[in-house]
């Protein structure tokens, strides 16, 4: 085994352990919750003590916690996330479906946010203490300060007549050529993605600005000036690469909050994504669904952060030593 693969395996091992630990913690943490799936499921016309017990049996909730945990692990080992209490479909399907809706929307939003945030942050640092800097940082601050749900409603009001404001696609469209389906999807994505982008880009701007600004005091920046590099190159070659560590760290970190926070966006736009699924699952105490959704989110966030660690290692060789 080469040292390279040993290194990689080590990293992956840590990540796997992280996922496992998180899942175990989630399993028990959420079960400490008052209330259970059965009570709300049984609160229906026809509900009775017997129904409650039948449901408990059906979902294996009559077993002790440890037994449930073991069942869960065994299922998981078989790649089976269980069956959702509320939709009765395999959680894997449900989670993948939700993820399929969340990922493009979130990705678009985040990409816009990173693009706008980092660029504006760099410009603000470059023109620091000028009117441009003030305008950029203050706009970023103010927009970032606005509650997401509030941004959403403002966008809905402004664009409701031009763009769809709910759902991931036109539910009543019967067209089936790939292009019109795609166009429809994109149209639906614009407002939620934009909301997400607006709600997050501000922090990227501010962090980029302060990280870049911090490098401007270093000798290598003035050396770069001496070497005849114009401002844009100084920024691109010296200031930005040296500022990237905190920026990358923050972006990776925001993956967790963005996915978690997509609950708000997904609610405001009736977007059938993972955040919404998680919220519903918790309200309905749909544990299999909740665990499944958390597993996926966990994996995504851990992977993103792992990636950030690797990238940072590449970005700043001093970290490794």
């Amino acid at each position: 085994m080469t040292s390279r693969s040993r290194y990689l395996l080590g990293k992956i091992g840590i990540a796997v352990f992280g996922i496992f630990a998180t899942l175990t913690l989630n399993f028990f943490l959420f079960r400490v919750l008052p209330g259970d799936a059965i009570s709300s499921m049984a609160r229906v016309p026809g509900g009775s003590v017997e129904l409650k017990e039948a449901l408990m049996r059906q979902f294996g909730l009559d077993k002790p916690l440890w037994g449930q945990y073991l069942d869960y692990l065994v299922q998981l080992a078989q790649g089976n996330l269980g069956v959702s209490y509320s939709s009765l479909r395999p959680v894997t399907d449900e989670v993948l479906r939700a993820l399929g809706n969340t990922v493009p929307m979130t990705l678009l939003g985040i990409l816009i946010a990173i693009l706008v945030g980092v660029t504006s942050g760099i410009i603000a640092a470059w023109k620091h203490d000028t009117a441009i800097d003030n305008v950029i940082s203050n706009i970023a601050t103010v927009i970032y300060s606005a509650p997401t749900q509030w941004i959403a409603i403002m966008l809905v009001l402004a664009f409701a007549s031009y763009l769809p404001v709910s759902g991931a696609s036109d539910p009543f469209a019967f067209a089936n050529d790939i292009w019109s389906i795609l166009a429809d999807r994109v149209k639906h994505m614009i407002l939620p993605s934009l909301t997400l982008a607006l709600a997050t880009f501000g922090q990227y701007t501010l962090v980029t600005r302060s990280a870049v600004l911090a490098t401007l005091g270093e000798d290598y920046v003035s050396a770069a000036k001496a070497q005849g590099y114009p401002v844009s190159r100084v920024l691109a070659y010296q200031a930005l690469p040296n500022a990237l560590v905190p920026i990358v760290t923050l972006i990776a970190l925001s993956a967790g909050t963005v996915i978690g926070g997509s609950v708000v966006v997904e609610t405001a736009f009736s977007w059938p994504g993972i955040g919404r699924a998680m919220y519903d699952a918790i309200v309905q105490r749909d544990y299999p669904m909740l665990q499944g959704a958390l597993l996926v989110v966990t994996i995504v966030v851990i992977l993103v952060n792992l990636l950030a660690d690797l990238v940072n290692m590449k970005l700043d060789p001093r970290i490794v030593e």
Binding site: L33, A37, V83, A268
Partner: protein, 514 residues
């Protein structure tokens, strides 16, 4: 548009399994796809698959004459399918089909004596037998029989994403919690619907739903948020508002286990409280006039079942103060009443995700008024599961909670809502731990009574007991508020609402204009 009715709703539907889902919108959509013996209309049942029915003298054996039809996979639909369906439900009633237990209560067996005759035998006379049986959706034996084998666990996990149906519509697309699309079924055994198709879209945010209606992306919205009525009207949308079944209420913990505030079990105190709740103001402000002061747990829209003698207490703070004084709850110098050396202050549990902003506003109104009768109320809000646990907890002992604000949606038949306060429901649906043996006896009597008139008397009597003991104070009876775009006709005001889990009539009567 082109005969497709696009419905927007803030309810959701995540599964099309007819025996496990409890979501009313799923059931309403399934009712458009699957046949059933009849369709409810008020307290009546109109023929559907069954053209007529009759019973023996005791009301224990019911014979139904059925139409025949064709399932969407080409196989014939006969009485055998119906018999299979009932027998399957019976067999697994303690397991996968437990959710349908009430509808088939007391049924002993079902038989198809020929392709067009179904005979259902009850163990004992059962009130509203046809109404109950008509709730059951009939499924094709050839699809479900394999699922029903053994312990029937597969019934509960069957996703039913490509249902084999025989009703007026068949499924063309289903995306959980997003949309259900149906198209007219050419092989339907009954009269073809006026609609070519139906789409039901599920919204998590009411503002965007109303926007979609205004932007002509929807034809009908149910329920329409009361706060958007003005906006909808302005946009030329027709708004229908009429009495519905849903009520909101205060519930009091009646359990002896609750020791901290025993006075909460004092009927006099509950009486006084009832006079301090300004039902009219709640209806006008919280529900913007789309509600009426509530009275009995059996709503007035159910017609004769509701006891006319049970009426809302008049709002009178002086009277409430007087009643409390008389009951020995003296006001202290600071204006708050005390009992057993404690200030009278109660936590009011409220499940905000179901009671909504309206519920919170209603509670604010009451809180302000209660201040004037020297009783402090403290809101404690959370989601329904947490609140349900808090009400009954810990471990169903009802030892901690005192007051909660929550509601129910009764059925047109009073049986269900009356069952909620049975002793046997403690641990089940009971939210109050109310237990009255006399009441339970009456309940059993009405459940067996086949004569509607006699049953009515018993039901009325039960309502009077509830009014006396007040496990619940019904505060308001909510209107159904629904809106549809101009150009549509045939809208019926259905107490259960447009998405009716007991009847396909609202959809079947809708007609596209011009």
């Amino acid at each position: 548009q082109n005969g497709v009715l696009r419905v927007g709703t803030s309810f959701s539907c995540s599964s099309l399994n007819p025996y496990t889902t409890t979501q009313s919108s799923c059931l309403a959509a399934l009712r458009l796809m699957y046949p059933s013996l009849g369709q409810a209309s008020g307290s009546e049942v109109l023929p559907d698959l069954a053209t007529s029915w009759s019973s023996d003298d005791k009301g224990a054996v019911w014979t139904f004459k059925l139409k025949t039809g064709q399932w969407s996979d080409g196989k014939p639909l006969t009485a055998k399918d119906a018999a299979f369906t009932f027998n399957m439900l019976l067999k697994h009633v303690n397991g996968p089909t437990a959710r349908r237990a009430r509808a088939i209560a007391n049924v002993e067996k079902a038989e198809a004596s020929d392709d067009q005759t179904l005979v259902i035998t009850f163990k004992q006379p059962t009130s509203n037998a046809v109404g109950r049986l008509a709730q059951i959706l009939i499924v094709p034996e050839h699809v479900w029989a394999p699922l029903a084998e053994g312990d029937g666990a597969k019934i509960a996990t069957f996703p039913n994403d490509e249902p084999v149906v025989a009703g007026p519509f068949k499924l063309s697309r289903f995306a959980a919690d997003q949309v259900i699309l149906l198209e007219a079924n050419g092989d339907y055994f009954g009269e073809a619907p006026a609609l070519k198709g139906v789409g039901i879209q599920f919204f998590t945010d009411s503002t965007s739903m109303v926007q979609a209606l205004i932007n002509k992306q929807l034809d009908l919205v149910t329920p329409l948020p009361v706060t958007s009525v003005e906006a909808a009207k302005k946009a030329g949308i027709t708004v229908a508002s009429y009495p519905g079944l849903r009520f909101h209420s205060w519930l009091f913990n009646s359990s002896e286990n609750q020791k901290a505030s025993p006075e909460i079990r004092d009927i006099k105190l509950r009486q006084a409280f009832a006079h301090a709740i300004d039902r009219k103001k709640i209806a006008e402000v919280a529900y913007l006039g789309f509600a009426t002061p509530g009275d009995s747990m059996v709503p007035k829209v159910t017609g004769d079942w509701s006891n006319p003698k049970v009426v809302p207490e008049k709002f009178d703070l002086d009277l409430a103060n007087k009643l409390l004084d008389e009951a020995g709850y003296a006001k202290g110098a600071d204006g708050w009443r005390t009992t057993n050396g404690r200030k009278m202050s109660y936590k009011v549990l409220i499940p905000t995700n179901v009671e909504g902003a309206e519920g919170l506003r209603a509670l604010e109104i009451v809180t302000a008024d209660f201040k004037q009768i020297g009783v402090e109320l403290v809101t404690e809000q959370s989601d329904n599961a947490t609140i349900a646990a808090a009400i009954t907890g810990p471990d169903n002992t009802f030892a901690d909670s005192t007051i909660a604000q929550w509601g129910w949606i009764p059925q047109m038949d009073p049986d269900f809502i009356l069952s909620v306060v049975l002793c046997s429901q403690i641990g089940g649906l009971s939210e109050t731990a109310y237990c009255n043996k006399d009441y339970d006896v009456l309940y059993d009597a009405q459940a067996k009574e086949v004569d509607p008139e006699k049953r009515k008397q018993t039901v009325w009597q039960m309502q009077e007991i509830l009014e006396r003991d007040r496990p619940y104070i019904v505060t308001v009876q909510q209107n159904n508020v629904e809106a549809y775009a101009p150009g549509w006709s045939g809208f019926i005001e259905n107490p259960i609402g447009f998405l009716d889990y007991t009847s396909n009539r609202p959809f079947m009567s809708m007609k596209p204009g011009n």
